[in-house]
C-alpha cells in the first residue's frame, strides 16, 4: 500500500515536470483557447476530455500537480522552519517564557483552520505563494507544540543533563540533542499535513484566492469547471480524483512513517 502511494506520488511529481515537454497540447498550459474543441468527453486523443475552452484536461491536471506539490512541500517546510525553533526554544526556557510562547501559539490555534489563511491571502493578494504563506502562518503552531513537547521530554533525559553538566549551552543542546531526536514525530506530522495543505490550497484556489489563470492548480480547475458540473462531469471528476489520491497517498506514507519511527511498533 505504502509502496503504491510512494510510486503514485513520485510518478505524479516526474510527470508534472515532464508534461510540458511530452504533451502535444503544451500550448494549453500557456492559456491557449480552442473553443471549437470545448467540452469533449474523455477519448483516445484527450484522455480526460477537454474543458470549455478546449484545453486538454489530462495535460492540465497532471501539470497542476506541480502547484499542489509545491504547496504541500512549501507549507510543511515553512511551518517546520517557523514552528520547530520556537517550540524548541519554549521547551528549553523557563516556565514564564514557555507560558508566554504557548499562549501566543494558542491564540493562533483559536482561529478556525480556514479563516486565518483566508484572511492572510486576502490581505497579501491572491497567488499560490501567498496561499503557502497563509496556510503556514495558520499551521506552524502545531509544530511549535510538537517541538516543545519533544524538547520537554528530551531536556529531562540523561544525555541532556550530562551534556549540560559539561557546560553545553541551549543552542548546542537544541542542535545536537533535541532537534535530531524530534525529527521523527515532526516528519510524521509533516507528511500527514502535506495532504491537508493540498486540500486547503485547492479550497482557497476554488474561491479565487489561490493560483490565478493561466497557472494550473487542481482547486482552480475545479472552480473553472463548476458551472459545467452537470453536463461535463469529467471537468470536475479528474482534478477531484487527483486531489483525493494525492491526499490519501500522503496520509498512507505518514501512517507508515509513524509506525516505522515508533520503536514499540518497530520492535
Amino acid at each position: 500500500m505504502t509502496l503504491t502511494a510512494l510510486i503514485f506520488l513520485l510518478t505524479l511529481m516526474v510527470s508534472s515536470i515532464l508534461i510540458p515537454f511530452i504533451s502535444p497540447y503544451e500550448d494549453d498550459l500557456r492559456g491557449a483557447v480552442h473553443l471549437e474543441l470545448g467540452g469533449q468527453p474523455p477519448a483516445l486523443n484527450h484522455w480526460f476530455g477537454t474543458d470549455t475552452a478546449g484545453r486538454d484536461l489530462f495535460t492540465l491536471t497532471v501539470h497542476a500537480a506541480m502547484s499542489s506539490l509545491k504547496v504541500a512541500f512549501g507549507v510543511v517546510l515553512l511551518s517546520i522552519m517557523i514552528g520547530v525553533p520556537i517550540g524548541m526554544f519554549a521547551g528549553t526556557s523557563n516556565n514564564r517564557t514557555d507560558e508566554v510562547v504557548m499562549r501566543i501559539t494558542d491564540g493562533f490555534l483559536s482561529f478556525p483552520p480556514l479563516i486565518l489563511p483566508l484572511f492572510i491571502t486576502a490581505v497579501l493578494g491572491p497567488s499560490l505563494n501567498n496561499v503557502i504563506i497563509g496556510i503556514s502562518v495558520s499551521w506552524f503552531p502545531w509544530y511549535v507544540r510538537i517541538a516543545r513537547s519533544q524538547a520537554l521530554i528530551i531536556s529531562s533525559s540523561g544525555y541532556v543533563l550530562v551534556s549540560k553538566s559539561m557546560g553545553a549551552g541551549k543552542l548546542h543542546i537544541m542542535k545536537k540533542h533535541i532537534f535530531p531526536n524530534s525529527m521523527g514525530p515532526i516528519l510524521v506530522q509533516g507528511t500527514i499535513d502535506a495532504g491537508y495543505a493540498i486540500l486547503t490550497a485547492a479550497g482557497l484556489s476554488f474561491i479565487g484566492l489561490g493560483a490565478q489563470h493561466p497557472e494550473t492548480e487542481w482547486g482552480l480547475l475545479l472552480t473553472q469547471s463548476r458551472s459545467q458540473f452537470i453536463n461535463h462531469w469529467w471537468e470536475v471528476f479528474f482534478p477531484g480524483l487527483f486531489i483525493v489520491l494525492t491526499v490519501v497517498s500522503f496520509n498512507i506514507i505518514g501512517d507508515e512513517l509513524k509506525t516505522f519511527i515508533n520503536p514499540k511498533e518497530n520492535n
Binding site: 540523561g158 544525555y159 543533563l161 550530562v162 549540560k164 553538566s165 559539561m166 557546560g167 545536537k176 531526536n181
Partner: protein, 524 residues
Amino acid sequence: MQKTLFKVSGLGVASNTAGKKQTLLNNIDLTINTGETIGLVGETGSGKSMLGWALMDLLPKGCFVVEGSIKYGDTPISEIPNLRGKKAAMVFQDPMQSLNPTQTIGKQIKTILGKWHGNKEETTEERAVQSLERVQLGSVVNIMGRYPHQLSGGQMQRVMIALAISTRPHLIIADEITTGLDANIKLEIMDLLFSLQDELGVAVLLISHDLIVIKRYCDKVAVMRSGEIVDNGITDKVFLNPKGEYVRSFLNGQEKTRKHKKTKTPIPKQEVLLVSEFEKSYGDLQNKHTVVKKVSMVLCRGNTLGLIGESGSGKTTLAKMILNILERDSGRLKLTIDGLEMENLITPHRQIGAVMQDSVGSLNPRMNIHEALSEPLELMGLSDRHVKKRKVVAMMNDVGLDQELLMRYPHSLSGGQRQRVSLARAMMLEPSILILDEPTSALDVNVQKKILELLKSLQKEKNLSYLFISHDLAVISEMANDVGVMYDGEIVEFGSVEKILNKPEQAYTQKLVDSSVWTSATET
C-alpha cells in the same frame, strides 16, 4: 498433592529477522506444579523473559517455536481457551509502561474484570475495590480515580499485581517486578506477592537476576544461560551444589558483591568538594515544597561518598545542584583542585563529571559512540578530528571497550557496555570528581560487579573522588568510605560506611538497613 500445571518439554524458540535465524531458547525442560514458586535466574539476555512470554503464548513478532511443546495439563497451550488471564497472568518489570497512562486505575481494573466477570457495573466496581484492598491500596485516597503517573513505583506495581490476580489465574509470571524499586519497597512488594500466593494458592514463576530474592522466596530455581537451562532443582540444593563452573561463578559472583567489608584503608583527607547548606524548594510561597533542606557535606580526594535514601528523598536533586544543572535557592559550592580554590561555583565545571542511572536514556540514541564521546571535547572547543579520535580511542581502552564499537549506536550495545560508554564520556574532560547517580541499578549482578571493579580501578589510577548515589546498600558497602543518609530532603545521618551499615543511630537508617534484602541475606 501437587498437580502439574505447565509442562515445558524440549522447547526451542528462534527468531527470524531479515532472513537471519537465531536460536533464543534451546531444549528447555521445566515443570510448574500448583502452588509452587519457581525462580528463573540468569544474566540479561539469557532468555528468562522469552520463556515467560512463551508460557503465555505471547512470543514477540518474528519469534516462533521450532521444537518441543508447552502443555497446560495434557493440552498444548495454543489449544487452551482464555490461557492468558484465566490460566496464567504476567506482571512486568516497568509498571509505568504496562499501565495505560490515559486511563484511571479504576477504569483499567474494571475493564479487565468486566471482560472476565461480565459488565454489571455494581459488581465490577465492588470487585475492583476488593482487588485494590487485597494489594493494600484501599487506604490510598481516591485510588480508583487516579492516573498511573499519580502513583509511586511501588503503588503502580501493586496495581499490576491486583490486575494479575483479579482473574484468579493458576500461575503468575513475575518478570523482574522489583527492579528499580527501593530496598524497602522491594521487600514490601515481594512480601505482598507471596502472601497473596499463600492466600490464593497460585503458582509463581519469579524471573529475576537478584539471587538473594530467589533464595529467600523460591522453592525451586532454574538457572539460564544463552537460552538454555544449565541448572535446575530445589533452591537450597542448587545454591549448595551448583552444577558446573558457570553456575558456580554466577552464584558466587553475587554473593561476593553482597559481602560487607569491615575495614577500608583510610585515605588522607584532602577536601575537593564542599557542599554548604544547599536548599531547594518548588512551588510558590503558599504552596512551598522544600525538596532539599540545608544539606552540607564534604568530599575528599580519592574518596567515595555514598548517598542513600529512598526515592524522592532528594538525592538526585542534590546531585543536579552539585553539577550546577539545577539552580539552588541557597548554599555554597566550593571546589578545591590542586590547591586552587573556586568559591561558590554556580555554573557547571569540567572538574565535576556525571554518570546517570539509566544507561539507555543517558546516551543520545541518534549519536554513535564516537560522536557521544567526542561531544565533551567539542564543548571544550577541540575541533581537530585526529586529536579527538586519538583521545576517544584512548578512553575506550581505559574503560575496557573495543574500538570496533565506535561506529555503533547505543541501542546495539549491552547494558554494561552502555554504562562503560557513559563512564568514558564523563571521563573525557579528565574530571577530579564524578557524580554517579545509581550507575549500576539497571545492570545484572555480574555486569554490576565488573562496572564496580572498573570504577575502583579508575579511582585508584586517577585519584578520583566519587559521590555515589544508590539505594543498593550492598553496592554502597562495596564502594563508599563515608555514607550520608537522606530522608525527606535532609541528611539525617552521616558517618563511615561501617558505622552506618552496622550501627546506625537513626531509626530511619535502621529501617533502611533492615528492609534491605541484602541484610537478611548476609546474615543468614
